[in-house]
């Protein structure tokens, strides 16, 4: 029944490696019980072998779960341990030992069963004490590891701030593993009852225990199905994250650090004066800090891109365009663009963190490319902000770009005139300060 439920409802919708493994085990158990129904089992040893074979799938499932929790499965089945296990090395060691301990216990039980055969498959028949030893050898480690796994699932689900779906998922698996642990305890008591209790009283106890085991098995299967059915898709896929890391982050870090190195080592010698004039002009026109930052970032980029020295060779229009395109890719995804942020400084929580969109670099790249690269397509009849005009005037004045090209591009409108006026005032003001010093 469990196999059919798994096959019909779970596998088509949620085919994890574990669910496929569990389905195979359930199929094996179904085959074993079918064979027992069809073949007449004569002799204690045959019964022992069948009893062990029917128990083996449960042992394998417990071993798989323990290894999965410890992150000990082969890499193609997943390598990460459960969060509570990662923080406790001793727990990891304990869980990793599950396959070995369970394997040894099954081996020992098989030896005991073959040396002292008992009616293992006749449910209510009286059994010798060796049968209890056989059962206890298998059930004690199975119950122990299932119990530990159940507690680990609870710990994983209990993590503060965890999404509700993970909480219910881990809770469901915890219930499933707790049921296996209880079945192990119940099976041991059942075996003891067959050894030490006889008559009507003993039979009634065995029937009650049998019903309990069936109920626990049903709850266990349902809990696992519930746990496996609860799905959660992360907002950002691992492949996208890898692409961002090796593409955008790498490109931006390299670009900005090369630019900083070029500026700090004094390669772009025309920059110092031009940037001071730009800041002063922005201040005179009452522009906001964010606009002034954009203007400053743009004039720096233009200066570095137009500098012929070897220190600036990595900051080219091509590199700037590539980075701008990578940033545009991120900005196409609103959720991602809002999530990826970095602090504006060390221990500067009161300040808003920067994002790809809010950082001055994005607008500066576009503006610098428009000023430096004559082939770049401008966006129709869009009117650029005033800071752009100020940068253009400053860059033309510092001979970083062709003044005739700037005049043609800015069409001598009111913003252009305002920028020229602000820039001239800024230069005069700076000259006065220099003369005074």
């Amino acid at each position: 029944m469990a196999f059919i439920v798994f096959l019909c409802f779970l596998l088509p919708s949620r085919g994890t490696k574990f669910s496929i493994f569990a389905a195979c085990n359930l199929f094996f158990v179904a085959l074993m019980f079918g064979a027992v129904g069809l073949i007449d089992l004569a002799g204690g040893r045959a019964e022992i072998m069948v009893a062990i074979m029917t128990e083996l799938p449960v042992v394998l499932i417990v071993a798989w779960v323990c290894l999965a929790l410890a992150g000990g499965l082969p890499s193609r089945f997943g390598t990460l341990p459960a969060e509570p296990v990662a923080r406790r090395p001793w727990l990891r060691t304990l869980l990793v030992s599950a396959p070995l301990v369970l394997g040894v216990s099954v081996g020992l039980a098989t030896v005991v069963g073959l040396v002292w055969p008992s009616p293992a498959m006749r449910v209510y028949a009286p059994a010798p004490p060796q049968f209890f030893v056989l059962k206890a050898l298998m059930m004690a480690p199975e119950g122990l590891y299932s119990g530990i796994a159940s507690v680990v699932f609870v710990m994983a689900g209990w993590t503060p701030g965890l999404k509700r779906r993970f909480y219910y998922k881990n809770l469901a698996f915890s219930v499933g593993m707790a049921c296996i642990a209880l079945i192990a305890v119940e099976s041991t008591i059942f075996a003891g009852s067959r050894v030490w209790f006889s008559g009507d009283g003993g039979r009634a106890l065995l029937k009650t225990l049998n019903t309990l085991e069936a109920c626990l098995a049903i709850v266990c299967i349902l809990a696992f199905i519930a746990g496996l059915s609860l799905r959660y898709t992360p907002t950002v896929a691992a492949t996208l994250l890898y692409r961002l890391q090796s593409g955008w982050l790498h490109a931006q870090e390299e670009f900005e650090s090369h630019e900083w190195q070029a500026v700090s080592s004094g390669a772009a010698d025309r920059l110092a004066h031009a940037s001071r004039a730009v800041v002063e002009a922005c201040h005179l026109r009452g522009l906001s800090t964010s606009h002034t930052e954009r203007a400053l970032a743009t004039i720096r980029l233009v200066a570095v891109m137009r500098d012929p020295s070897s220190e600036t060779q990595n900051i080219t229009p091509d590199a700037a365009r590539k980075l701008y395109e990578l940033q545009q890719e991120i900005l196409c995804d609103d959720v991602l663009a809002s999530k990826i942020s970095w602090a504006a400084g060390w221990r500067s929580r009161p300040h808003e963190p920067q994002t790809v969109k809010s950082a001055p670099l994005h607008d500066a790249l576009k503006a610098a490319l428009e000023l430096v690269d004559n082939d770049v397509e401008s966006e129709g009849e869009r009117t650029p902000p005033l800071w752009y005009y100020i940068v253009a005037v400053s860059a033309a004045d510092a001979k970083m770009i062709d003044p005739a090209q700037v005049s043609k591009q800015l069409r001598d409108g009111p913003e252009h005139r305002a920028a020229v006026e602000a820039y001239d005032s800024a230069k005069r003001s700076l000259r006065r300060i220099e003369d005074r010093d």
Partner: protein, 216 residues
Amino acid sequence: MRVEVPRRDLTGLFLDRLAVLWRPLRNLGAAQTRVEGTRSLLTAAEFQEELAILGLSGRRFEPEDYSDALADYLDISIVVHVIPDSWYPELSRLLALSGRLGELRYSEPMNLAAILVPGSLPPLVLTLTILHELGHLAAGDLLIDPDDQSAEDDPELEEATFGTLPLKKGKKLARGYPFARESLREREANLRASYALFAGCLGDDSPHAYDMYDVL
């Protein structure tokens, strides 16, 4: 990065002398570096395990939180100095000319690591530089014996695993030993920095954090 070794008493001095005598004898049998084993570069999943150990897996965190958690785990003090250009104008120029973005100093006797970065660095580069230096501390790169470092030949990118070195003493966060080649240690510190930045931004939206709560 710079490592300041502790000053020792007379016994320490004697042991140092003995170590100096022992080193050539040890190297007689091994012409190459004393390699501890091999391993591949850190993956995002392995870094997530490190975050779980620090109690940061599945949480949004700032580089400061990572630094504090790492300091607690390693049982050392980590101080980050962002030095404004106006305080020490030569720092940016000297670092830029040397092709570096920051400096990590470690004092064993004081259990103190100091990270120096110029304040003029762009914010993203500043964050990544600090995380890069913290990555060296997490990897235990400062705990290897300088004499054990291998010659800097270009690592073959086709290689899947690279040689590592044993540690002198001290605690590290990483499961594997530091790489013998300095270029690989730098590459891994870069990887750690980028993993940390994304993990801190995404919190439990990170696919690797999600894997730790959905093992089946």
